[in-house]
Symmetry: C2
Subunit: 218 residues, 2 copies
Amino acid sequence: MKDAARTATARAAKVRAEPAPKRSRIQTRNRKRILEAALEVFSAHGFRGATLDQIAAEAGLSKPNILYYFDGKEAIHVTLLNQLMETWLDPLEQMNPEGEPLEEILAYIRRKLDMAQAYPRESRLFANEILQGAPRMGPHLEARLKPLVDQKAALIAGWAEAGRIAAVDPRHLIFSIWATTQHYADFEAQVNVLMPEGGVFPGAASHLETMYRRLLTA
Amino acid sequence: MKDAARTATARAAKVRAEPAPKRSRIQTRNRKRILEAALEVFSAHGFRGATLDQIAAEAGLSKPNILYYFDGKEAIHVTLLNQLMETWLDPLEQMNPEGEPLEEILAYIRRKLDMAQAYPRESRLFANEILQGAPRMGPHLEARLKPLVDQKAALIAGWAEAGRIAAVDPRHLIFSIWATTQHYADFEAQVNVLMPEGGVFPGAASHLETMYRRLLTA
DNA sequence: TCGTCACTTTACCAATTGGTAAAAAAGCAA
DNA sequence: TTGCTTTTTTACCAATTGGTAAAGTGACGA
C-alpha cells in the first residue's frame, strides 16, 4: 500500500497538469521510451487491442518495469492522449485574428495536412479514441477543445460577416478541414489501395487548397 | 487464375458469395439477430474490444449458441464487413454517367450524408477496420472498392475535361466526400461536444452542398 | 566500505475470453 | 406417437492478459 498516495495523486491529476514532475534522467528516458512504444501500439490496435506485452517489447523493457513507471495500461493511454491534445490544438491556436482571413485559413489547412503526414500515428490514436465515444477524453474535449473552437468559430464568423471571406458556417468548416486532412492519416490503408502511386500528399495539398479557396472566395 | 482461386481453399471463397445458403427459418432469424448485435458491439468497441459475451448478451443468446451459427468471432466480423460493403458501395454505384454532372455529384454527397445519419454504426465499423489497417478487408477493398472508384474517377475526369464541371482531381474529390460525410458519424462524440444543439445534419447538408457546389462550378 | 535508494527482474496470479464436448431440449416429418 | 434432426444449454478448458510481490542489481554519497 505504499503506492496509495501516488495513485490518489495521479488520479486527481488526470485532468490537470502534473504538479511536481522532478524526474531523474533514467525516468525521463524510460517514460519517453514507453510513451513512444505505446503510441506505436495503441495507434495500430486501439486501446483494448493493445497489450502491455506488446508495448513492453516495443519499448525494450519488461512488463513489470513498465508498471514501475506508469500506474497501469490506462494511465499510459491517458498520458499519451493528454500530451497529444496540446500538439493537436496548436495549429488551430496559431490562426491569427490579425492576419489576412483567407490566407490564415489556408495556412491552417496546410498545417493540419502536414501534421497528418508527419504524425499519422497520433492522428489514428485520436481517431480511435473518438470513435469509441471518447471514453477517456470527454472531459478534455470539453475543457480544452471546445473553448478553442468556440473562439476560432467566432473569429471566422466575424470575417464572414465583414465580407472578408464568403459566407460559411464556421463550425462545419472546421469539421470539414479536420475530416479532409486527417482522412489521409486515418484511412491510409484505404487511400493506399486506391492511389497506389506513392506520395498522395502533394496531390492532397493541391486539391484541398483549391477546394477551400473556392469555398471561401465564392 | 480466378478459377484456380475458386477451387482452392475456403479462404479464397471469403471474398465471394456463399454458394448454397439454404437456411432454416430459425437460422435466418438467429443469424440476423447475431449480426445486428455484433454490429452494435463491434462498432462501439472495435474488433478486439468486443467480446463474444457482449454480443451474446445483446443478441439474447448464449455464447455457445452463437458459435453454433458462426465459426468464431472473426467469422462474424468478416460476415458483417462483407455484407456492409455492398450497402456502402451502393450510393457511388448510383452515380449516373448520363445525368447532369454537378447534380449527380451533389446527389451522391446527399446520399452519403444520409447514410452517415441513418447508419452511423456501419460507418464506425468500417472506420475501425480501416484504422487498424484493414486486416480483414484488404482483399475486399482491392476486389470491389478499387474497380468501382477507378470507374467513377474516370467518369468524373471525363466530365471535368469536357468542361461540364470545374477541374478537380477525381480521387481526391471522392476522398473529401467520404471524409466530410462520414465525419459526422465517426466523430459523433466530438461533434456532439462542439455542437450541443441537437440536429447537426441539416446544417451539415447545407454546408456540404455549398462547399462542393462552389468547388465544382468555380 | 557500507547503507540507502532507485531501478529491474523473476516468479507468480486471478480474471477474462474465445472456444469445445456432450448432454438435453425442441422441432418436425411420418 | 415415433424417430430423427436441429437447436440450446451446461460444464468446462487453455491461453492471454493486466497486474503484483518480492528478491535482486546497481549507483552514489558519507
